[in-house]
Symmetry: C2
């Protein structure tokens, strides 16, 4: 799962519900049911989206009894974005520009 395929990454992000789930799982662990409660889709649909995110390496999982908890893999987000920028913005002064973006 260390190969950061830009296409796989982009496809995983290319859905509204999935980005919503990513936002929910950012900085915290949530069970599938907790995610279902916070979205407008059914449990199987959430499971489906979590599978897509898992295959893209974008979430970490932790089993606990009957429940499975998910959290966003922030490190992977950074590495995938980094890959994208290396590929599609090779002429840019990345460290400088990133500094600007982070500050404002």
């Amino acid at each position: 799962m260390s190969t950061s395929d830009p296409l796989l990454f982009a496809k995983a992000l290319a859905d509204d519900t999935r980005q919503q789930i990513m936002g929910l799982c950012c900085c915290r662990w949530l069970s599938v049911n907790q995610i279902v409660e916070k979205t407008r889709v059914t449990q199987p649909t959430v499971s489906h989206h979590l599978a897509v995110l898992r295959e893209a390496g974008l979430v970490n999982t932790r089993d606990e009894g009957k429940q499975t908890f998910y959290t966003l893999n922030q490190d992977r987000v950074v590495r995938c974005c980094g890959q994208l920028m290396l590929k599609f913005a090779p002429e840019q002064q990345l460290t400088v520009k990133m500094g600007e973006i982070i500050e404002k």
Copy 2:
């Protein structure tokens, strides 16, 4: 075109042909026909993909007589990736990690 919508950005990237076109237009200006020659799809298909990239602000255009030249908007790639990281990797030390990614 300054609103960097993460979903629009991801959808624009979520296609193999489109990423291929982005790679071709990276660091140089190409006419539509030149792009067609370097891909395996027809001219209308290339025009369609260029329209998607244009609507996402990912390409710049220059008209010259009959031809239209396209080039990748690297600055926007950086800003969109920056937005994604701010949204989905808020706990990461971005400047540090980006440094690591750029070096290796």
